[in-house]
Symmetry: none
Subunit: 90 residues, 2 copies
């Protein structure tokens, strides 16, 4: 079972829901300022979605400049430029 199931029929598409969750976690500092986020297979497991859906979500994050992805390595949080402190876990 997926740890963080998403609603396949929500008003927002599944890949957008996945993107939302991960963005919030990055904002909360869950992965560190420049840390790696979980691998695609791990995210598939967690959300109970296909790899394509995870990859779409990560595409949203890349387009938003929140992560960068390296082949054979993984995806990494892009540190905030100075003056924009981490939102911090609450």
């Amino acid at each position: 079972m997926a740890e963080t199931p998403i609603d396949p029929r929500g008003r927002r598409a599944p890949y957008q829901q996945v993107a939302d969750v991960i963005i919030r976690e990055i904002d909360a500092g869950k992965y560190g300022p420049d840390g790696p986020i979980p691998s695609e297979p791990a995210l598939c497991e967690r959300f109970g979605v296909a790899r394509e859906t995870v990859r779409r979500a990560l595409g949203v994050l890349r387009d938003a400049g929140r992560i960068e992805t390296l082949r054979g390595r993984g995806s990494f949080v892009i540190p905030r430029s100075d003056g924009q402190p981490e939102p911090g876990n609450e």
Copy 2:
């Protein structure tokens, strides 16, 4: 913008238009006698159509015996049998 836009309202359906263009290019030797043709996503981009439309077009080419498609690899031009020389570029 699509490099080779097709007319969504032409007398021929979009998938037929796409099939026509690719067949002409194969005849012109553009992809080599047994070379790969561009991937489905690439063709979607080029013609500005959805993947289903590209797949229908490729279905026409397969039914006509002009290409063969391999999962995870791509679609390849089927060489002409002897006695039927390539139409030749120009």
